[in-house]
Symmetry: C2
Subunit: 232 residues, 2 copies
């Protein structure tokens, strides 16, 4: 029995949080009978947030359609939203994809492409409040499913998201096998993965760091959204 | 207060399980005041197991020493072990590194470089039984710490490993902030991350798949070990 063929397209952009992408890519590379592309404007290596570059496998022109569209996030999200070619490609592929998906602040890119109007969506906890800019309803869950939109929380949520999607597409038995192959039996060393449980001091330390790395990012995103015709 | 500077070197080799590498790289890229390199024989992009290539940041010649050495695993492990230049570099950097570490079957590479004789070590569950070939004692834990050797279990264990290492080096408060930044609050969709709990049918499905992808891999590794002078 051969599994139904699938085309998977991940957006790859400069300063992406690479684990937003590499986590779900690892899981979805085990779907079987699927072609998975990392798509960018050109085939030049794309610098990630973690000090190394990933080589795209296809250009926007090469991939006019896909069964699964997935957009990762990171500090490069604003630059991706500001780029017309990127947003046009996301909007075009997302319009007909069977599954329109994101990890982390990738949901803001989907939003900017007009793909989340009237949908519930997830996002990195620290940027979730920006989703209404694009007509989406923020939900504080690890993986948010609303019709054919699957949107994950921050960074590591991409692994949970991709296993959920695997089960929806190939069934639970296949997803369990992939989970075992990746030995996904997490034992986080601390109970610090959400702002509610990390404690005030840790949240404040994180926010000081973001204020240094990306000062004024909420206002910048509001300006970008306004430019793209979102009333805010 | 400036954190002590650190040099981190990850081995990058063809057909690496890329999440073995990209998970801990994401975590350790947040150590602060650290230079992180992905090291290979040349600077040519290296194909991973997931259908895309990663660009090395340095060659073996560029990185004669590091504070932290980390070796990922994957189906490319055997080829890495068979390659003299790779094993020589791992042995040389590992001899003086403050932390000698691995994720998944990367511990077999450390073993082949003679770095685990008399040490307890972790590995992907399906290959853990091969560690004694190299004089190491296999331990079925997510992260195994024996003196300055930190060795993780399969693939996704790299995230837990790297957070543990972050806490050892920069303290628990810093590790908690990184965990929050990466929203590492996992909710695996199934209880299938270990062979004990995945169930017999899932384990058998996995083993059938490996038998197809890498037939005879235990015997091949025994032959490679013998060639490197390990009695087995």
């Amino acid at each position: 029995m051969t599994a139904e063929p699938l085309r998977i397209a991940f957006l790859l952009f400069p300063d992406v949080t690479q684990l937003d992408l590499t986590g779900p890519v690892q899981v979805l590379s085990r779907l079987g009978n699927a072609r998975l592309d990392l798509v960018a404007a050109t085939l030049e290596p794309v610098p990630t947030d973690a000090g190394f570059s990933i080589v795209p496998t296809a250009t926007f022109a090469d991939v006019p359609a896909a069964d699964i569209l997935c957009v990762p996030g990171g500090f490069g999200t604003h630059r991706a939203i500001a780029d017309d070619a990127t947003i046009d490609w996301v909007a075009r592929v997302g319009a007909d994809a069977r599954w329109v998906t994101s990890v982390c602040t990738g949901s803001l890119v989907l939003g900017a492409a007009g793909l989340l109007r009237g949908y519930k969506a997830g996002c990195h906890w620290a940027q979730r409040h920006m989703l209404p800019l694009f007509g989406a309803e923020p939900v504080a869950e690890r993986v948010v499913i609303d019709r054919n939109r699957l949107t994950g929380g921050g960074v590591t949520a991409g692994i949970d998201f991709a296993l959920r999607l695997t089960a929806l597409i190939r069934g639970e038995a296949h997803a369990r096998m992939v989970q075992l192959a990746l030995e996904y039996d997490p034992i986080p060393p601390f109970d610090a993965g959400s702002p509610e449980r990390a404690g005030v001091a840790v949240v404040e330390a994180y926010e000081r760091r973001v204020a240094q790395l990306a000062p004024g990012r909420d206002d910048q995103l509001r300006a970008l959204a306004a430019r793209r015709g979102f009333a805010g």
